[in-house]
Subunit: 336 residues, 2 copies
């Protein structure tokens, strides 16, 4: 079968720099996800096959659901990087997002590999491919270019990277090329159900109870285009959970028919709420970041606001409703 | 890239029979799913390209979430099949599971195409490939064999068939071959996010409220290997929902870490409950079907029991606990 998506090749300078070094430190962004960790571990396993001494360090520890990845015990974490290396490779983010800069970087050769179009390419050895589904896909191509064969552990890591960044091949970034790479990685030993069970079927019991209580209180705007849920300190107490247990809850709200924007309000103080917004693809949220006191891009935005829940909710829902009306016109049952 | 999964070719008799006929009726099983409907519509669109007159009839109507599939307006439904055809093709099930047999079948040439290993192959022209991920994959191969090109509508139908039968490429039936076929179907016009949005992101608002209330009441066995939820008539009333809104709820229960068997109890009368069991793959549920008064296979079983909820629950949970202990030994925190 043919490759329809052009595979942007890695810069030759990057390959030469890798060949020249012996010790390599690899880091990824804060709050690492499946693509960051799968890419980091897959690259480590590959570089070790060609004789490199590889070290892994991130600001944050590996989340529970990714501890099944081969080699996670090799990842150290914390705010300060120790030692000096021939090369420092930052994956899946521009370097400042590692949260590890303290006046200097721990190597002379600095390499950045990323697929986020927003990356400002500050390092000369930046390989940025916004067409790539995941950074894991770029690592797959780099390994192929270096003629490093894929063993089972590498396959699991890179499969997980592509699998999680596409939401198990559901999102619009799913390309024929990413599916063919995934197919090859299954042949090399990645087990789709094993990865699924770890990533999507390992919820804590208390977390499902919290999800139930949160969804029981779901509300929607009159036109049905905005829906929201609230997680209070009281719900955390009732279920013995904490903020990290709410990860991905906003996706359930987004999954409702007719909803264009889903909102998750999480209590973070007596009168403070953290807001997470998710869009279904027809409305652009990036302009909302300022009014929410936070950041964002097209399909996701967030921030933290002070006030009573009623005040915060009204402010956020009004801002979202205005964005919807400006971009899509009035909703189907909008009143006035 | 190489094909590692052997592609069992369709029987030549089947191709000859198809070439010989002009009018074709295609039916699928009761309660049709994405694979059944995607295969049915994909085959119709393909056969029309080579001049066949194709008719579609099923016992049950097309569920709401699959109405986005091109051609669903062509599917009639109901218990009786009208007319006579040159060929009658049953997809994704053995013919009795269509629920359409009333003493005779509506054609002389009978063709059955299925990937379920349990199919008894009663029709001489049965093409059964248990290695196929989905019946949709077999239709893809049949179209390729007949040199029928894939247009966008066919691609959407067959992509949806494979996508839904693998749970969006999550289940253990996901093969390299199925992913490469999906890649080709994306190139032919299938849009992964459009299919996802229709299949997985089109829940009714009331359904998410019901899910919340149901999950709020989740319970588990002492050893954490069984978890269950209950849907009562009262919850349906509170949320304006009905039994069909509980579809896939049991999957949320199964997604809990440590849970081997998930149970959904649905009230179907003052003292009657319908039971759905799902296993994670390490325990075989097929032996439980008898004690539940229903049917089942390895990863799923179900039935209907009369009694108070407490009686029914105790009976089912005891039976599951015994099956677990017999097959896997005592659980980690089992008491006695």
């Amino acid at each position: 079968m043919t490759r329809k998506v052009p595979a942007m090749s890695e810069p030759s300078g990057l390959v030469a720099a890798l060949r020249d070094c012996t010790t390599v430190l690899i880091s990824v962004h804060k709050n690492p996800d499946g693509d960051a960790l799968g890419s980091q571990l897959g690259l480590m396993l590959g570089l070790e096959k060609i004789g490199k001494k590889v070290f892994l360090h991130n600001l944050d520890p590996v989340p529970e659901i990714y501890r099944f990845l081969p080699g996670t015990d090799r990842i150290t974490s914390g705010p300060s990087v120790k030692g000096a290396y021939d090369a420092f490779i930052v994956l899946d983010a521009d370097p400042p997002r590692t949260g590890l800069f303290n006046g200097s970087w721990p190597a002379r050769t600095l390499i950045n590999i990323d697929h986020h179009v927003t990356n400002p390419r500050e390092w000369p050895l930046t390989w940025l491919d916004p067409e790539a589904t995941a950074t894991g896909e770029m690592i797959y191509r780099l390994m192929t270019g270096l003629r490093i064969p894929f063993d089972k552990d590498m396959a699991i890591c890179l499969y997980t990277a592509i699998f999680t960044d596409t939401g198990s091949f559901r999102y619009s970034n799913t390309t024929p090329e990413s599916m063919r790479i995934a197919a090859t990685l299954i042949e090399a030993g990645a087990d789709p159900w094993m990865v699924t069970e770890n990533v999507y079927e390992s919820y804590a019991f208390k977390r499902i109870r919290l999800l139930g209580k949160v969804l029981s209180g779901i509300e929607q705007s009159r036109d049905g285009r905005i829906a929201w849920v609230l997680v209070t300190d009281d719900l955390y107490r009732q279920t013995g959970t904490s903020a990290e247990d709410t990860d991905s809850f906003v996706n359930f709200v987004r999954s409702i028919k007719g909803v264009e924007v889903a909102v998750l309000f999480r209590q973070t103080g007596a009168a403070q709420y953290k807001i997470s917004l998710r869009a279904k693809g027809r409305v652009d949220l990036s302009g909302l970041a300022t009014s929410l006191g936070g950041g964002g891009h097209k399909n996701a935005a967030g921030g933290v606001l002070d006030g009573t829940f009623t005040d915060v909710r009204d402010k956020v829902i009004d801002a979202v409703a205005q964005a919807l009306e400006a971009q899509m016109g009035k909703g189907p049952q909008a009143a006035s």
